[in-house]
Structure formats: structure tokens, C-alpha cells
Symmetry: C2
Subunit: 385 residues, 2 copies
Amino acid sequence: MLVLSRSGGSLIAAFAALSLMAGPVQAHEEVVEESLSTEYLSARLLKVADGFTHPWAVALLPDGRKLVTQRPGGVYLIDNGDKTRLEGAPEVHATNQGGMLDIVVHPEYGDNGWVYMTYSKGDADGTVPALARAKLDGGSLVDFEELFESNTATEPGRHYGSRILFLEDGTLLMTIGDRGAHPPRAQDTMDHSGTIVRLNYDGSVPDDNPFVDREGYAPEIYTYGHRNIQGIALRSDTGEVWVTEHGPRGGDELNLIEPGQNYGWPVATLGRDYRTEGDFPDAETRQHDDMADPVFEFLPTLAPSGLAIVNGEHFPHWEGNLLAGGLRAERVLRLSVETGEVLHAEELLHGTVGRIRDVRQGPDGYIYILNDAEDGALYRLEPGG
Amino acid sequence: MLVLSRSGGSLIAAFAALSLMAGPVQAHEEVVEESLSTEYLSARLLKVADGFTHPWAVALLPDGRKLVTQRPGGVYLIDNGDKTRLEGAPEVHATNQGGMLDIVVHPEYGDNGWVYMTYSKGDADGTVPALARAKLDGGSLVDFEELFESNTATEPGRHYGSRILFLEDGTLLMTIGDRGAHPPRAQDTMDHSGTIVRLNYDGSVPDDNPFVDREGYAPEIYTYGHRNIQGIALRSDTGEVWVTEHGPRGGDELNLIEPGQNYGWPVATLGRDYRTEGDFPDAETRQHDDMADPVFEFLPTLAPSGLAIVNGEHFPHWEGNLLAGGLRAERVLRLSVETGEVLHAEELLHGTVGRIRDVRQGPDGYIYILNDAEDGALYRLEPGG
């Protein structure tokens, strides 16, 4: 085709250069795709570990070990070919979307050894998304501390959000889904449901939170009007916080997070509630002057999960790009975002590993991916192949 | 999953009702997919005829016969299980994207018997997109008349456009690609390249064309600033003309056509030219105040081909929806468009028949699809199964 013949030369040169970057395949690893062709590079997909029941999140330790949560409960430590289910993981109430959820390594892990995690806590009468931290000691999580829990319990099963993001100012963000509650609560500024909360590392409220002194607002709230954010990432060169958010039928959103903003749900939405048969919301409900519009709507539906933002030497043509995992769409979307707009998108891994649950960049610069399956696995995407 | 359990009852009822609409499979037809699950209905995909070399367009005759063009040359008549290569098809210059292109039945075919077609005409030194009409007489096209050709010949191979659409006012539209010419010509209002032209049925210029009396404008031009439109359809309830247009890398557009408008290429574009390595166009080139913005950008790339707009009893939940075929994306996108926005999108046929070249609704209300392949085929999509 014409396109290939015009750009073929430089692509081949790029392949040759990048293929040097792929390391040897370890004995415990399995090559899933030797040569995935993408717009800028050839990539290799490896299976690093498997046998997880609906894995939800992967945390990458600086020394190359990995931690994987699985939604029905449990945290696994992956050390090369060895996989250990850790003692001391929290008890979770695992129903439908609830269970053991996110896990992230503290940015100063080398000094303090903290690992942060979220999960659904409670019983059949009501659950809350909760945040805790613990340290890794051999095959155990020790010094476990609960730091925060949402202030409203809801019938288990729906919209926990629960991603954690460390900012560079000594605080962290935690996303909290709207819990699918009726009447809806994401516009209730005293309720943590449907928000992002910002906390100090010990779970206390930062003095400079946007609503910390405002009557009628829970002081932990950083932004509100969210439905269910399951992807959050920091763009290191700009400091921007990006999130991917599940809409109702249609209406999956990419949002740029600004403190104090109301993101509209369920007053302003691009999608339809599953409960309402038939018509789309009318124009009044798609936009609202006082509420932040999404930067991008995923059309068709992505059902967004983990989000990573690429940086570093391994993927030079993807620098600053968002990698948005999709559950229902069963792919990763690579999005090039500049001047507040999505300029370009490419589908990756469609038809390869099914529903994507998490996407992270490791300290080694490679991309780690979990698929959501009864027998799920951890994959690594690297240039070359 | 929760979604299915909430809406399952009504979906099952809908399936039951719609499954009555699928007719018996004819002896010469082959079921490709018995039960394609979509958001609103279960559909069946049948192969109606095969053995076409890169088929480009299908025309559906009122009596159930079909005409299929193939890009390297030739027009086939499909009459149930019989396939006849017609005598009297035009000579074409078939290089790369050029060759035998569109074919459409005149809206008063029953009275006048005219079939309209486009193709690339010329030689290795230069080709033009041309429009002709002929009548079907047994195994031949007779009374062949050339009606129009683009006023600028270009080195063969790129960006012919060449879709035909009959309007309801006694005129027709023909899309003409920019021919990939350098320097670019889509902003040259004397040049048919990169335009939609509007013609009377006999190829003459309608008196009420937007630029008919304007100095410096070719009188056939209806709109300009297009790169390469390969999908065009009329929404019968609103009279709107919709087109899908190939962008450069990224920048595939859905446009609503208003007479006299400049659609911006290559001054304003959402994509990048393949020639320019690296950066995206800066903000100044993505929008221009005097030029029409697209209604929607296909992200990721669709590489849009044939476009149909659904109406009628067979697909009640798709009424008024656009079905946009995709070459590179190898799928059909169903788009729900209201109040000037794409409100919802669904992928259809991904992974089923490969590159989609044409999508039409037949007089029988079913959807007809051609795939672009060395051994391409004609398919019918119908509810039920």
C-alpha cells in the first residue's frame, strides 16, 4: 500500500533500533506475541505470571518484584518465577465489582517500605471502599494500617472506583465510585461517593484541599460528580492528572482533573443510564456550564480500566501518550493528547488477551498489563520482537 | 453481568420479535454468522455472492438483482445464484486506488432503467474520475453515456473519491478526491479535485448550484476542501447529506454537507500528512473560522469506505443511524447522530469479513456489505438468527 511504501524506510530503521531493547525471555516467561505491529514500533508481549482469579491491579517494586491483587481477595508476590500468596492481606467483602482492588508502591518505598491498597470493606448490608497501607516482610504484609474509608456504606457490588495515585506534593488521590446509589450521590458534596479524595500519606486531610474550610463539603474531596473512575495517572512532564471514567451506556470519559471541579455526573453526562430504555439524554443533560466537560468521549464504549502514561527510553514515539485499558472493548487505546485534545488514537492488543483490567508502566520502563479473567495473567509489553 | 440482568428481559423479547424477520436462506447463500450479538438485536450475516477481485460498490435493483463493480475493472450482475460479467462496462485505468468504482441505481430506475457509475479514466500520464450511465439489457450494459469528468488529470493511483448520491431534487452528487496532488488542489475553486460536484441527471450544471455565477469557481462545485470522500448517504427523514472522509494519519472525518461550504483540507485538518514525520499539526491547522469543522473524528483511524443510513422496519433500533464501513479498521461503525453530535457508537462485524469497502441498505431493507479483498464477496446483514 502507498502508506507503507512512503514511510516504510523509517519504520524499518526504527524497528531495527528498537529491537535491541528487548531483553532475553526469562525461563518462567512465555512469549504470547513475538511481533505485534504498531504504528511506530514492533512490540513483544510476554506472559510474566498467571493463575490469578480476576486480577485487579499490579504494583511494580523497584527491585523487579511485583504485587498482584485479585478481586475475590488476596495479594500475590511475584519474584521471577515464584508466586506467593501473602499473609496479612485485608479481609474484603467480594461481591460483583467489590473485593481486593488497587495496589500501589509508595514513591519512597526504598526508604519507608509502604505499599498502599484499596478494597471493599463491610458486609452484605453495606460496604465502603477503604484505603490501607502495609509493609512487605517475606511472605507477609505487616504493619497493616487502615488510613481512610468512604463515609457512606452502600449495598455491596457496584462502582467502587478505588484507584490510588501518588502526587509529587506529599499527598495521594483515591477515586471513589458513586456506588450506583439511588438516589444518586455524586453531587452530594458531603458524601465521598462519586469523588476523588486527596489525603496525606497517613490518611489525614491536607490543609490545602479545595473544600477544606467550605461549609457543606467533606474536607477530603478533591473533585466530585464522578461516576466510576478506574484509571488514573500522572503525566510527569506537565503534572497533569488524567482519569478514565465509566459512563452509563455510552459516555465513557477521559477527564483532566482540576482541584475543586464538579465533573457533572449524573446531571451532565454523555451517556444513558441503563435504567432508561430508549432515548439518549437531551442536550441539557450532556453539558452544564458549571461543570467540567470531558476532554474525550470513548466511542464506541471502552469500559475503561487501568491507565498509564508513558515516559522513558523504551517507547520514544509514545512519550507522554496515555494507555487506557478497556474491559468490554478488550483492548488498550493509545491516546496522544496535546493542547487539551486527543489528537490521535491507536488500538493495541485487541484480540490478544481479552478484557484489560490494569495497565501500568514499571520502573524498568516496560508496560505491564493484567487481563480480567477467571484465569487471568500478568503480561509485559516491550519494544522489539 | 449487571447490565445484562437489568435489560435482559426486554432484549430477549426484542430478539424473539425480530427473529421472525429473517427469511429463509437461499440455496446459493451461505450463513457466515448465525447469530451476531449487537446492543439491540441479534443479526445474521449471509454471503450472497463471492469471487470478486477487490469489489468496490454494490447497487441493489428493485427486483432483487444486484450489480457489483470490482476495482481492477468489470461490473457483475447477480441474479440469485447466477453471476454474469456484463458486456459494455467502461474501460478503466486501474492503478492502486483507481479503477471501476461506484455504481448506483437511478431513483426512477423502474421508469428509465438508468444505472450510474464512476471510474478512473485515462492513461499512465494522467487519469480523471468520470461519471457515466448505462442501461441493463440481458448480460450487457447498453446506451452507455459519459456525463462528466473531473477537469484536471493527475498521475494515476490516489484519491478518486467517486461516490454517487441521488438527491430528491432531480440532481446528484459525486465526490471527487484531491488526487493526492502536490501542490494541493482542494482549496483551488476552479479545480474539481477535492470537491463534491452537483449535477443534473444528464451531467449538466444545475442553475441553483452555490457557485454557479461566482467568478473563480467551477460551476459544478457543491462543496470543496475535501481530501477523499468514499462514503456518502442521505438521511431521508431530515434531508441531511452525510459523508465519511479519509484524513491523513488520523483525521478521518464525519461531515454534514452544506452547499457552498469549505471543509478545510489541507488548511484545516485533524490529522497529519503522511509526508511529515513527527509532530501533529499545531492548533492553527486543526480549525479555521471560515471552514466547516467535522461533526466527528474517527479515533482510532477507521479509513472510511461506504456509508449507509438505516431506515425501515427491519432495524427499528437503528432507525436513522449511520453505518460507516472501515477499510483499515475492518469493521462497520454504527453511529447514532442527533442534534449535530454523535451520541453513541457501536462496532459491528469486527473480525468477521476483514476490510469493509461498501455498505448499502437495499430496497428489501437489509444491509449489504462488500469486503475489500483479492477474493471479495457480497454479504447481507439481516435481523434474527
